[in-house]
Amino acid sequence: MKKEKHTDSTERLYKFFIYFVLIMLAITILVPVAWVFLASIKENSEFYGNPWTMPKGFYWQNFVDAWNMAKMGDYMINSVIVTALALALLLLVALPAAYCLARFQFRGSKFLNTLFMAGLFINVNYIVVPIFLMLKDGDVWLKKIAGQGFLLNNIVVLAVVYASTALPFTIYLLSGYFQTLAHDYEEAAYIDGAGYNTTMWKIIFPMARPSIITVILFNFLSFWNEYIISMTLMSSAKGPKTLPVGLLNLMQAQQSAAQYGIMYAGLVVIMLPTLILYICVQNKLTQGMAAGGLKG
């Protein structure tokens, strides 16, 4: 039908133009990312000439140096622990809460729902300073009582903060799903003699698996990539650090030290898990976005 109105040549020109623009955009995204991968196996001397030359060989020493000398190995372990712990805690707390808030009417349920919705508007980075001060005061108090403070520079506390600040978004996403379920499921379970607890864990949560996977994906990305809270709560020079913070320090230091190879190797170490995960689940992620499209 369109052919009747547009002549063939303008149609073809239009198509060509569209492809041209799309391919240009794809290139501006893919080339820099690929460039970092190639740079991570270049020797330091290769960084002073034309940036577009291919690496002379596979210089794996960059990764070895990053892992050992730049302590990327330690940072990686910290990042894995923090992310896993925060995800586990988040699911354990958010799932029952989202279920009850979405499916039960009780005194204050409206208020709590509104409260968590309002939480969506509070950005963690607005309140990172008071969180830091609160933990710092807590440490001072603990020092007085127990002789030692442990709230700052502690990866477990960091995981708790991550999980807590992810609650509004997670509860919002999960409640959205729970609200769509028919009440018949629970009624049938109650008639069969199942209690509230059994019904929730054995009937409802298994059904919610797709939403749970979406929640895990989004929060994995945000916990793994986060660096402002991590930088603030673990500011001690000798204390533990997560991968992005360690790398940021390295990047700021390399401006004088010029160890490009190690820096790009570090970038690859952070980027690789997220890229592999993305390639495995890209469908889930881009679809889940329609549901969780409000995340910033």
Partner: protein, 294 residues
């Protein structure tokens, strides 16, 4: 009777942990932002003194703060306009036209969104490097490069930030609008084709009005999250430099905390909170239209 007791017990066990964590780590700090803005508290003085609105008075005359607000507003406005214009146009093209490799484009455009801002800062430091960065070496093909373009100099640093932020955000919004645009029924386009409407008028008179509710919500959230994104990018890419030329409100707040001026830092936090509420209220008001249904 017994049953209702069990019910409330179950509800309490389920909800209490979430409410407690949410209260300690989100509500309490938020209230503290407002409370502490009225006090003078420093890293080296253990006591707090109530000073009323003095922090805000100092703030109004602090030219560094005013510049950081200006920078933030500049970034919000330009990044929002550029990202939304491009995201909507590309999404419109990709859903309306039969494009080969549509899935490939969708996958690629989404990649920047899964990268840490630290990684993006690393990538852009390689792009913007003056002597042999990617961008300058490409521009060097067209013009003489004896004095290279300094992308992170005082005059260009904001442009560099805008490019990086648009690069990061565009794919995410495009994929999202593709999802909502594909729900517009095909029959509407077919009947408008019969009426002789071209692609452009279809885009502005069918596609945009029908997904307006979606655009409106995402616009509000985008603006709120851009306030935060300006901070993340500035902190990782420029640290506010050179000479504070790229400082934004949140990074200035963070800097005041590092300087040990906690009360003053929180007064900036209050302004940012109020600003973000006012801005989202304004956007909501301006974009209010009669919702269309299909």
């Amino acid at each position: 009777m017994k049953n209702s007791k069990r019910r409330s017990g179950f509800l309490a066990v389920c909800i209490a942990p979430a409410v407690i964590l949410f209260f300690i780590f989100m509500i309490l700090p938020t209230l503290n932002v407002f409370r502490m803005s009225l006090y003078e508290k420093g890293a080296y003085s253990p006591t707090e003194t109530f000073v009323g609105l003095k922090n805000f008075q100092v703030l109004l005359n602090d030219s560094n703060f005013i510049r950081s607000m200006q920078n933030m507003i500049l970034l919000i406005v330009t990044v929002t306009i550029i990202t939304f214009a491009f995201a909507l146009i590309f999404a419109g093209i990709l859903t309306r036209e039969k494009i080969k490799g549509q899935n490939f484009f969708r996958i690629v455009f989404y990649i920047p969104n899964i990268l840490s801002i630290v990684v993006i800062a690393g990538i852009f430091s390689a792009i913007y490097k003056p002597e042999n960065g990617m961008l300058n070496s490409i521009i060097g093909l067209f013009r003489d490069m004896t004095d290279p373009i300094l992308w992170k100099s005082e005059s260009l640093v904001m442009v560099s930030l805008i490019i990086a932020m648009v690069w990061q955000a565009i794919g995410y919004y495009m994929v999202m609008y593709m999802a909502s645009m594909s729900s517009v029924p095909e029959s509407l386009y077919e009947s408008s084709n019969l009426d002789g409407a071209g692609r452009l008028s279809q885009f502005f008179q069918i596609t945009i009005p029908l997904i307006w509710t979606n655009i409106r919500t995402t616009l509000t959230f985008f603006i709120i999250s851009t306030i935060n994104m300006t901070f993340l990018f500035v902190k990782a890419m420029t640290s506010g430099g050179p000479n504070g030329a790229s400082e934004v409100a949140l990074s200035y707040m963070y800097g005041q905390k590092d300087a040990g001026l906690y009360g003053y830092s929180m007064a900036i936090g209050v302004i940012i909170f109020l600003f973000s509420f006012a801005l989202s209220a304004m956007v909501n008001k301006v974009t209010d239209r009669e919702p269309l249904e299909f």
